[in-house]
């Protein structure tokens, strides 16, 4: 049932994505622009909290269990957001400016959801690791970076 819903959703999104690509022009729909801005803000929050953990992992900041746990808990909350409204059809890099999200993202929704779940699992693991000790934090960093990279590898343009 859930799979069928996801498939149906993906089909609708990809068809309307095609329509969006055809009618795209220099004028960006404010709703689309808003969604792009919102999802980029979510990414910025990821980066900010990862920065706290990364600075400790790389020895650029002293290990602080409380600060690390706070950052990891934020990441966990971010991965738990319902982000479906942030990725409307027609908000891909072929349809509008200002985004590097490839149309392939809309064509592979089941895979995107799987990758999002992997990110959530990595963030969950980081909550435990961040409060344990520096070695655990460093160990959990790789999986988190890998989860970010997996989605960016498949669904993001190289650069602007």
């Amino acid at each position: 049932m859930k799979a069928r819903f996801t498939f149906g959703l993906a089909a609708v999104l990809s068809i309307s994505g095609l329509v969006g690509a055809v009618v795209a022009d220099s004028h960006v729909d404010p709703a689309i622009a808003g969604a792009i801005k919102a999802r980029q803000a979510q990414m910025t929050l990821y980066a900010f909290n990862l920065g706290t953990l990364g600075a400790m992992a790389r020895g650029n900041a002293p290990y602080d269990a409380e600060a690390a746990t706070a950052a990891a808990t934020n990441l966990q909350a971010l991965t738990g957001l319902n982000a479906s409204a942030l990725w409307p059809a027609g908000s891909d890099s072929e349809s509008v400016d200002g985004t590097r999200a490839l149309p392939a993202l809309w064509q592979n929704f089941p895979d995107v959801i799987e990758k999002a779940q992997a990110t959530k699992a990595a963030a969950d693991a980081m909550v435990t690791a961040a409060g344990t000790d520096l070695a655990a934090l460093q160990g959990a960093m790789g999986a988190l970076g890998g989860a970010c990279g997996d989605c960016h590898k498949a669904y993001r343009l190289p650069d602007e």
Partner: protein, 296 residues
């Protein structure tokens, strides 16, 4: 009558020059005969040279990254190239190749049948590789799993489909001289070797001319993405202001100093550089800081 004779003469000279210039070269069998197929050394070469980034499935993870069945497509102005199967399959891969054939392919860009490869295969980089590293890589590649998937043909149209012409391209654009010359520290030299003889960073990060040759004055100065939208960034000191530590950390974790993460093909590159020794990532960073800045 006399003019005709001269025309024939020049035509013959032209054909002779073409024949000499475009002739596929081979590695000297004697030069590699005594070298050891050191598998551990070959593994380092494998990751430094980034073989799996193109020859494994783009979505492969873990052990599957060692299945080099090919199939990734590389669109360009000259057509779409498809990475071939280079697994040890004797039927579809390179399992039956001799050491000499392998080293010739990697360092000269010439197939066992004596045909030029398209430079989508970065032999213009690998031609600077020490023969001992190429032989070690041969040893390592034989340890990988065979993949029984046939290689797909490239989609290249006239005149780029005439392989012999690639000899002329090589004459113009292939050189085993170092790009970064002058006095270097041992670390910078190691970095130069990793970048200019193995990692082939310049393949994407250096702009190309109309014939697809690299514009050496803009070495690593950034370039448009031949596959379509987007571009590869300028990674010279003219633009890349990260510290050496930042660069090395990026090549290990994929995280930029702002904790954005590597995407696209660069994420595949980081999967390889993460396998290198920390000193080698630091050496690449030292090299990138030593190359001439390109304004960006």
């Amino acid at each position: 009558m006399r003019i005709h004779r001269w025309l024939i003469f020049f035509a013959l000279v032209g054909i002779a020059v073409y024949w000499v210039v475009t002739r596929p070269t081979r590695v000297d069998a004697a030069a590699i005969a005594g070298l050891e197929e050191d598998v551990a050394r070959g593994e380092t070469v494998f990751y430094a040279a980034g073989c799996a980034s193109c020859h494994a499935d783009e979505t492969a993870q873990g052990e599957a990254k060692l299945q080099l069945g090919g199939g990734q497509h590389f669109p360009s102005d000259f057509g779409t190239f498809t990475a071939p199967n280079i697994s040890p399959s004797t039927e579809h891969g390179i399992g039956s190749w001799t050491r000499e054939q392998f080293v010739t392919a990697v360092t000269q860009g010439v197939s066992p049948e004596g045909q030029h490869y398209y430079p989508a295969f970065p032999y213009t980089t690998y031609t600077r590789m020490e023969l001992a590293d190429a032989v070690a890589l041969y040893g390592f590649m034989k340890t990988l799993p065979a993949v029984e998937t046939p290689s797909q043909p490239h989609q290249v149209s006239f005149p780029f489909d005439i392989r012999r012409n690639l000899g002329g391209w090589k004459f113009l654009f292939m050189s085993d001289d170092w790009v970064l010359d002058g006095d270097l520290t041992p670390e910078q030299e190691r970095g130069r070797y990793l970048v200019e003889a193995m990692g082939h960073c310049a393949e994407c990060h250096t702009p190309r001319n109309a014939l697809g040759g690299m514009q050496m004055a803009s070495w690593m100065g950034g370039a448009p993405n031949p596959a379509g939208r987007g571009s590869f960034p300028n990674i010279t000191p003219g633009k890349l202001t990260w510290s050496e530590g930042d660069i090395a950390a990026y090549l290990e974790s994929g995280f930029t100093p702002e904790f954005d993460s590597a995407g696209g093909h660069m994420a595949l590159v980081v999967e390889n550089t993460a396998q290198l020794a920390p000193e080698d990532r630091a050496a690449i960073a030292a090299y990138l800081k030593a190359i001439p800045p390109v304004d960006g």
